[in-house]
């Protein structure tokens, strides 16, 4: 069986997800096409096999959340928490994404062609995120590991309380969060940005990006800081 289509105007999301969880790992259809998603929540969450899922339309909350190994393409926009807590695989949003995109992703690649809302990559734990447009405020808040490539602008408090995740921004940064700083680009950064842009199918000069990483001054308690950071 080549392709299998689920029309969510007739079939509940549960049925789709049940197939993806229980039948897809047995090697059923090579590609699953989802029509009329109509903003439904939890589409293609918790996948655990290298299946390909193409969603034709706008999705609601948590699409592709907890993804492992699957390749999910959303031909539309995504609501809150797209690709949150993903472990591996790819989630590609062709439109814009709402708040909390890629939150706490441990691995894999989240690609957003348009803008991402606030708190994109919050608490990132090792995943990679490439955003073709701009990201909202508080993005990469407390991001621990992984990389974000932002081709547009960043809002307020980018990388606040950043740990070891590294952010690359091409456009303007409205403000950096506490303990985040701009650092010079090394060859390894150029290679990393180049590789991520290539995977995302985006064409930008890696040298045009700024590297944002942690000052690591919040790693230890500083009694003299007087609560001012």
């Amino acid at each position: 069986m080549e392709n299998l289509t689920f029309d969510l105007s007739e079939t509940p999301v549960n049925t789709l997800n049940h197939y993806l969880h229980h039948e897809a790992p047995k090697g059923g259809a090579r590609k699953i096409i989802v029509t009329h998603p109509d903003g439904a929540h939890n589409i293609a969450v918790g996948l655990d096999c290298p299946v390909e899922v193409e969603i034709l339309g706008h999705v609601g909350y948590y699409a592709g959340g907890m993804n492992k190994a699957a390749r999910i393409v959303i031909e539309g926009s995504a609501g809150t928490g797209v690709g949150e807590n993903m472990m591996s695989g790819t989630v590609h949003v062709r439109g814009f994404a709402s708040n909390g995109a890629g939150a706490s992703a441990h691995g894999g690649l989240l690609i957003i062609d348009g803008d991402a809302g606030l708190r994109c990559g919050i608490s990132l734990k090792g995943g990679d995120i490439v955003v073709g447009g701009s990201v909202g405020s508080f993005s990469a808040f407390m991001a621990q590991a992984g990389r974000m490539v932002i081709c547009g602008d960043a809002g307020d408090a980018l990388g606040d309380s950043l740990y070891e995740a590294v952010l690359y921004v091409k456009g303007n940064i409205k403000s950096l969060g506490a303990d985040a700083r701009i650092e010079p680009l090394a060859d390894a950064d150029i290679a990393a940005v180049s590789n991520l842009l290539q995977q995302a199918g985006m064409d930008h000069a890696p040298r045009d990006f700024k590297r944002v990483a942690s000052k690591r001054e919040l790693y230890h308690w500083n009694a003299d800081a007087n609560q001012e950071y």
Binding site: H36, D38, G39, G60, G136, S137
Partner: protein, 302 residues
């Protein structure tokens, strides 16, 4: 959680279908707000000097069958005015051509259990407890006509589940507001407004925002200036959608804690907490769909 919906039709021919297009939007937000629902619809304005008052009798104990005609008759005897009446169960729209404040004073004295939902030349307001589909059915929402409307489905967090605490809230004339979120300083706002003679009807946080913004408009601010003052004074989480006689306005708090999505075509502007309330709209495949930014003002005029 709560659900917000709004619809403004640009094509006059669609005004007859306003309710039909909106009812699925409201029902689509049931999971976000299953306990109460309501909406304000703005119709062709009445002539100068005429007003309509939306009234609700459901707060009167054991009275599901309020005698609206009797009330209008009594009003004619006492005040000497001929009021028009359009009733749907516990709801009535009273049309008068005198100072509406005089009518409201009379209602308070003679029918203190009646709740005034709205006053104005364009606004009709309906709200009640129950699932959105039940409330929509109770008042025939799908038959409503008009240029724009503001709707809400409620999941109460800040005050009790009662009809008067359902949204939309109104203040003054031809102004209403719905809210998804929770304010942290509604009591501070109340303490600021009450000494100015502004009266509150419930303990609901949204009412504070509604009365604050309407007060600014009454003081002469235009909508943009009033909303800017709202950003300065109102603290907490909010997506607010407001309706005036000729516009819908939307703002989100700086943290964008509560969702909103907009779909715009040549025929309409539709606003909802989530896209799933917009998916059924005609031409949605080609609509410009976007997420309104935090701390920005969006105003759509009819």
């Amino acid at each position: 959680m709560c659900g917000i919906v709004g619809l403004l039709v640009k094509t006059p021919a669609l005004r007859a279908r306003l309710g039909e297009l909106m009812a699925p939007m409201l029902i689509g937000m049931t999971e976000r707000g299953p306990d109460s629902a309501g909406l304000a619809v703005f119709t062709e304005p009445l002539a100068d000097g005429a007003r309509k008052i939306s009234l609700y009798s459901g707060l009167i104990e054991d009275d599901d069958d309020f005698n609206w005609q009797g009330m209008a008759h009594e009003m004619k005897e006492h005040l000497g005015i001929d009021a028009t009446l359009k009733t749907t169960g516990n709801h009535a729209i009273l049309g008068v051509s005198v100072d509406p404040e005089m009518v409201k004073r009379w209602l308070k004295e003679h029918h203190p259990g009646l709740f005034v939902l709205s006053t104005g030349k364009s606004i009709d307001l309906y709200k009640d407890i129950g699932a959105p589909a039940e409330v929509a059915d109770r008042y025939n929402f799908s038959k409503l006509k008009g240029s724009h409307l503001v709707g809400h489905t409620r999941m109460a967090t800040e005050s009790a589940v009662t009809p008067d605490r359902a949204h939309p809230f109104t203040a003054g004339e031809d102004f209403c507001l719905v809210h998804n979120g929770s304010l942290s300083n509604p009591n501070g706002i109340r303490r600021k407004l009450e000494p100015r003679g502004i009266h509150f009807e419930t303990d609901n946080d949204t009412e504070a925002a509604c009365r604050f913004l309407e007060w600014r408009l009454r003081e002469g601010d235009d909508l943009e200036t009033a909303l800017k003052k709202g950003f300065e004074e109102l603290d907490g989480f909010y997506t607010f959608l407001m309706g005036t006689k000729d516009a819908l306005a939307l703002i989100r708090d700086p943290f964008a804690c509560k969702p909103a999505v907009v779909a715009e075509t040549g025929d309409y502007v539709a606003i909802a907490s989530e896209f799933r309330s917009l998916a059924h709209l005609p031409g949605i495949e080609n609509a410009h769909v976007f997420e309104p930014a935090p701390e920005e003002m969006y105003v759509w005029k009819i």
